[in-house]
Assembly symmetry: C2
Homo-oligomer: 308 residues x 2
């Protein structure tokens, strides 16, 4: 079948790149991205939504492909001046990126919802897919470390470069998923889980009241964020052994999602270790925009077979 | 006498340039600038203090001398992006300038006073003079126009390029002057009024409870912002006839300040029209930093004669 209503859950870089492929593989307007906001935080008085922005910038094709975050051709004059003032510079904000945070923060302070302001910003950048923050109220992903106490996600991830070993991941706030998110899931034909970190990018979405139950009625196909035992990017490769005692592998990710998955797309060779679930092995590394499109097309074709 | 405790009231560009000369003409630490905050406003959710920043940047020698506002070598990438989003771009904020507004806004939101955060920012930039905002609570200068209703200062000055004819200037809020301002005036040997706009830069300071009374006990010397019937910069040249019916002139400024002044420094030739007050005529146009120092030295020498 050809899908016309697809929901993709998403974290940051890996998720956004896969979504870019999915958006181009589907008819215009068919994709709704439901984006993790557990990493959101307030910095320099601004409301920062790293995953929402990465998805927005990537889908608008204005993101920095090399760096993986922020805008292409970005400058950092404001942060240099913050540094000169002795202000906090551990989280780098680009000059043009600041416009996003300023306009969003002002709108939120005036009572506009994160869902509404995200729609406005996406429209201005020409994003064709619908981008929905998972929640309008704060949900804070907290990292319980083995030796450094509990840290808010960004302080652990950026401030401490994800170095402190992780004992557990907690979600504080537990806001409801938005009506828009639940409606989009209810209306969709397929849920995709991109190659994002399950613990800190996807679980925050699944943890919201109603989301797991709504998704349980839908065919769910995930793409493994672990290739040959390693994460392409980010701390997942070390988090899996820290949190489960097992080696990092695609099968560890499949076990984590468990019965939620109808199908799982993995790197060639990784299929050997996975039982009890439909698996499609292919080249999952996305080096180019063409890679994204091809992986999205293969994932959608696989999903189409599964729901036939 | 050599002054060791001088207070200078100040607005933006003209005031800041004169203060730069005064700061260098006096012993280190002798100058306290009391700066108009009636132009302050909130923009993009940020607390903007145009005159405080112009004084701070000018005294730190990091200001843009050509443009008269903002920082030298400034870039405007954030504002370009605000424009792309369709956000408000009528008030231009530079990228490095944004750092000032971000750090100040965050500090104010956390409960720090404008006086305290200004001191911290000035210290970081190496400003030797003490820079005191006139008040910690908002005071809003409102421009009653002849034909366009009442506009907040920045909307009239920047948004409408000071074009709508002025019927009256009002100050809303009327906060108390800070304890620091009143103490600095009480302790000083001399009060200087730079070549700033009396109506929108100096009157907001003088209008605060206690300031006029405290200054009345001190020798006050002003420098005329009108040279040969014209303002060097800004809308004063048209405001004087609009508000008083008289032509723009140094004598009109002297009449406005009235008995407050002990002495008045004017451009050569302008002294002819002024009676009943000690006048010193000199070259008052400040084209270079040397001009500022020379004008400051001449003003201080004149004041020294007056108080001897």
């Amino acid at each position: 079948m050809t899908f016309s209503r697809v929901v993709a859950l998403s974290g940051g870089v890996g998720g956004a790149r896969f979504l870019d492929g999915v958006a181009r593989a589907l008819p215009p307007g068919a994709l709704t991205a439901v984006v993790n906001t557990g990493d959101d935080f307030t910095h320099l008085g601004l409301s920062i939504c790293p995953d929402v922005d990465t998805v927005m910038y990537t889908l608008a094709a204005v993101g920095d492909e090399e760096r993986g975050w922020g805008l292409a051709g970005e400058t950092f004059a404001a942060m240099e001046m913050v540094r000169r003032y002795g202000g906090p510079d551990w989280f780098n904000l680009g000059d043009r990126d600041l416009a996003t945070h300023l306009l969003r923060s002002e709108a939120l302070a005036k009572g506009e919802s994160l869902t509404a302001v995200t729609a406005r910003l996406c429209a201005a950048l020409g994003v064709g897919a619908r981008v929905l923050p998972m929640a309008d109220a704060p949900c804070r992903t907290m990292i319980e470390t083995v030796a450094d106490g509990t840290l808010p996600f960004q302080q652990w991830f950026v401030g401490r470069r994800a170095q402190p070993a992780v004992r557990a991941v907690r979600f504080e706030g537990r806001p409801p998923a938005t009506r828009e998110v639940l409606d989009a899931i209810d209306a969709c034909e397929l849920v995709l889980i991109p190659p994002s970190n399950p613990y800190v990018s996807i679980d925050p979405i699944l943890s919201l009241d109603g989301v797991a139950a709504a998704i349980a009625n839908k065919p769910v196909v995930a793409v493994s964020p672990i290739l040959g035992g390693r994460a392409v990017k980010g701390p997942l490769g070390t988090m899996i052994p820290q949190l489960t005692g097992a080696a990092a592998s695609a099968s560890a990710v499949a076990r984590h999602y468990g019965s939620l998955l109808r199908g799982f797309v993995v790197e060639r060779g990784d299929e050997r270790d996975i039982d009890g679930i439909a698996v499609r092995a292919t080249d999952t590394l996305m080096r180019t925009r063409d890679d994204r499109l091809r992986l999205a097309q293969q994932t959608l074709a696989f999903a189409s077979e599964l729901v036939a």
